[in-house]
Amino acid sequence: MQKRILVSTRKGLFELGKAAKGWAVKTASFLGDNVTLALHDPRDGTDYAAINHGHFGIKLHRRDKDKKKWVEIASPKYPEKPEGLVDKDGWGRDVKWSTQLIWALETGGPKQNGTLWAGTMPGGLFRSDDRGTSWHLIETLWHHPDRNKWLGGGADIPGIHSICVDPRDPNTLRVAVSCGGVWRTQDAGKTWIQSAHGMSFDDGPKSEAESPDAQDPHMMVQSPSDPAKFWVQHHAGIFKSVDDAKTWTRVRATPSSFGFGVVVHPKDPNTAWFVPGIKDEKRIPVGGALIVTRTKDGGKTFKSLKKGLPQKHAYDLIFRHALALDDTGRKLAMGSTTGNMWVSENSGDAWNMVSGTLPPVHAIRFAN
């Protein structure tokens, strides 16, 4: 049972637990530091926290089960860039072979104790088989010629923000790249193919708008109960796949299909939640009213959920990793760029504010 919520913020990692009057902050770690992502590993109870120190680079910390002390471990490190190699991104800018953000952190398969995956900016995927003590770059994806088509979306440089380890086979992974589409391997990373066919964006020439390599999926999730089904909150809207993420179809939501986060129900692939904003150039809630949208029918219809959420002059943006769902599908949590945080105990029908004074929230995860 997931009894904790890990909240990664611009100024520290906050752990929430259930108190007499609802969820409350219990402990704070790394106060003052930019914690960009946390991970709880249910296989062994370990917690991980990624920090962007700015001046001092990207660091990763680990805390063993039931321990209080965090220990710094290795951070994904790029190999030495071969001398004379010309390596440009889709903008034509030189790619810096250095970890600039840990943007995705996931566990391997249930029986792969100690295996972790990390997605980074500028686009490298890393694997550890020793609980983060060491990491190695998945060179096949890094050296794939199409990687040079990737470009920054929102950020200056491309990055992997979503990693879906297939529950049917841990050697099958799909990763989503902003901007670079969706990449699939079925042999633990030996070979990769582009898997964003059917996604598109609205502006620009058709050849570019429909190019899989140009797509900007903001967040991708895989249905645990029906793993052939996927949801993506994309820069240009919502997409879903029912064929193992081989092809995608657009889904229209009201009042808007723009947003960053998406979560899917653990037992129902047709139920998913989103937090809409107006549009890419207006990243604020529609009408200053913060809502969550939920579909229960695979995207045919959406319901706006707003009970307990601010409906006047609310300009909260929920980042892609800052909307979370627990393993029952009943509890949701979300945190905003303005430091507000809410929890729902009834699938989003009603929300309670947990805090209005947190630092800007990067990521939220439920934990055992």
Binding site: H55, F56, G57
Partner: protein, 89 residues
């Protein structure tokens, strides 16, 4: 002997008291400092071994110019400071 100093901000994250070194170039001074604590290297240099974007190294008050190979000269009495940029609000 030359001496290498680190800021309190950096010392908050990694144990790096000032250290005396025998060095004629900055790269030698850095290697001797890193030998005391290998984690320190990753806080000062990036994955390619270059000085991190917002870091500076001063030798007797003058900023090091060779940010990839650190071939700037060091005197036996030099004072080196490894500093982060004073930025942000």
């Amino acid at each position: 002997m030359a001496k290498v100093h680190f800021t309190s901000n950096l010392r908050r994250h990694v144990d790096c008291p000032s250290v005396e070194v025998v060095a004629s170039h900055v790269h030698q001074a850095l290697e001797q400092a890193f030998a005391k604590n290998q984690r320190l290297r990753t806080y000062v240099l990036d994955d390619q071994g270059h000085l991190r974007k917002h870091m500076r190294i001063l030798v007797d008050g003058v900023a090091v110019k060779d940010l990839e190979h650190f071939n700037d000269a060091v005197q036996p009495t030099s004072e080196l400071w490894v500093m982060q940029a004073l930025s942000g609000g």
